[in-house]
Structure formats: structure tokens, C-alpha cells
Symmetry: C2
Subunit: 149 residues, 2 copies
């Protein structure tokens, strides 16, 4: 973690930025936070240790991390932008509509098929987003799973 923070600091310097205590706190908070953290959640947790830090700084810092390639913006709908660390390898999401739990998954075969479909349309893919919404085991309504929409 220390190494990572130092590396980011160096990149910021190289890009003409300056170090800052507040930003360091936010960045460390981000990497410690659970994945898919909302801006609001991160702000709250950061302010527990450093009450002076405003939501504005959190927004700016996350944007910065995104520009540097360390964070990725997510949008599962329903307000509240989320961010996830870009260090862990690519994965997709199962989102529970009841309790909000987010499960990550990875399926190489789905990715391959996506690749195929895309090329079939003469498309050059740069990124994709696959989210499956429904109810997790705990929240499942009765025992009558619905089919895909």
C-alpha cells in the first residue's frame, strides 16, 4: 500500500501536480474502502479521520485517480456515482436490487463471445460493461426465479 501511494505521488509530481495531505488521505481511503464505493460513502469514511476534508476534494481526487488510470467510474443507476479500483483485474457485476450487494464475477467464455460478436459488426471494442440485476440468495423472492428480460 505504501509503495502504491508513493508511486501515485510520483506520478502526480511528474504530471506537474503537488503533494497534499488531504489528497493522500482520500487516496489511501479509496484503496482501503470496499470496492464499488460511492462518493458519499468514501467521503463519510474519510471525514471520520480527517473531518476537515470536503466532498469536493473527494470528487476531485477520484477524478484524478481516474485520469491516472487507478480508478474506474461505475454507474449502477439510482443516483450516487461509484468508483472501483482499477488494480484488480477486469470483472463484471451482479447487483442485488433488494439489498444492494454487488458480487463480482469473471467469465472468460462470455468475454470471448463478446469479442466475436463485436468483430462480426466491424466494431473495435475498447471496454464493456456487463451487469446482471436481480436478487441475491438472501433476498430471493420465494423460490421462483424469473428469466432474463
Amino acid at each position: 500500500m505504501k509503495r502504491l501511494l508513493e508511486r501515485i505521488d510520483r506520478e502526480i509530481l511528474a504530471a506537474g501536480g503537488k503533494r497534499s495531505r488531504s489528497r493522500a488521505v482520500v487516496i489511501e481511503g479509496f484503496f482501503r474502502a470496499r470496492d464499488h464505493v460511492t462518493v458519499e460513502e468514501l467521503t463519510r469514511s474519510v471525514r471520520e479521520n480527517a473531518p476537515g476534508i470536503g466532498a469536493i476534494t473527494v470528487y476531485r481526487t477520484l477524478k484524478l485517480l481516474e485520469r491516472l488510470g487507478y480508478a474506474k467510474e461505475l454507474d449502477f443507476g439510482g443516483g450516487g456515482r461509484r468508483y472501483e479500483s482499477n488494480l484488480s483485474p477486469h470483472h463484471d457485476h451482479l447487483v442485488c436490487r433488494q439489498c444492494g450487494t454487488v458480487i463480482e464475477f469473471k467469465d472468460r467464455e462470455i468475454e470471448n463471445l463478446q469479442d466475436l460478436v463485436t468483430r462480426r459488426h466491424g466494431f473495435h471494442p475498447t471496454a464493456h460493461r456487463l451487469e446482471i440485476y436481480g436478487f441475491c440468495r438472501k433476498c430471493a423472492p420465494g423460490n421462483s426465479p424469473e428469466r432474463f428480460g
Copy 2:
């Protein structure tokens, strides 16, 4: 088309609503519009024929169509909510980052795999969203397609 509009009218009545000229114009405009229309686009095209109609009514009518199951909200990021008709069968999207073109595709095998993955996690899927972002044939940068992210 006429049949469809009448059917919707009947459903609105059955649900305790009333008919309205403005709403009829918006609904017809929606079904005539290209798919994945933004609220702003639809508002503009509706107002060409009926200048009195406000964006508010368009918002409300689209929400109504969604409630009735005729429309689906989309969000490709970058502001501007989009809606698509729910009459055409389910499909996913290829979105060009350059020109904004949206290509629809359907891949039964991907869907099956999604179903499998989901169940493996004890999840009960109700809907999913698969969007692949990149560059369409026209906008492809040189001829060096990138891999998935």
C-alpha cells in the same frame, strides 16, 4: 401503430387515467422515433409538430410508458437519459465512442452463459445490461483494434 396507440389509451383508462392530446402526441412520437432516443431529442421532435408541449410532459409520458411496460430506460453515460421501445425483443448494445452510433445485437449463447454464471452465485436474475463500447467500422482508429478492458 393506430392499434397500438388505442391499446395504450385503453390501458391508461383502465388504470384510472384520462386521455390527453399532448400525451398522445408524445407517445406516437416515441414509437416513431429512432430507438435509444434521448429525452431531449424526443422533446425537440415532438415540439416541431406541437410547439406547446413541454419537456415536462415528455418526461412524464416516458415514465408512464415505462410503468406500462412499453418503454425501457437506458443509460449509456454522458448525460441525457435515453429510452427505447420495449416492443422489440431484448437485445444488447454496441456504442461507438466517436460518433455515438448504437448497434443492437443479440447473442443467445452469451445469454445462456450469463444465466449459468448467475445461478452459480445463487442469484435470481431479473434483467441485465450488456454494453460494449468502442469504435464502429467508420470511426475505427487506424487498423489496430484494442483488446477488451
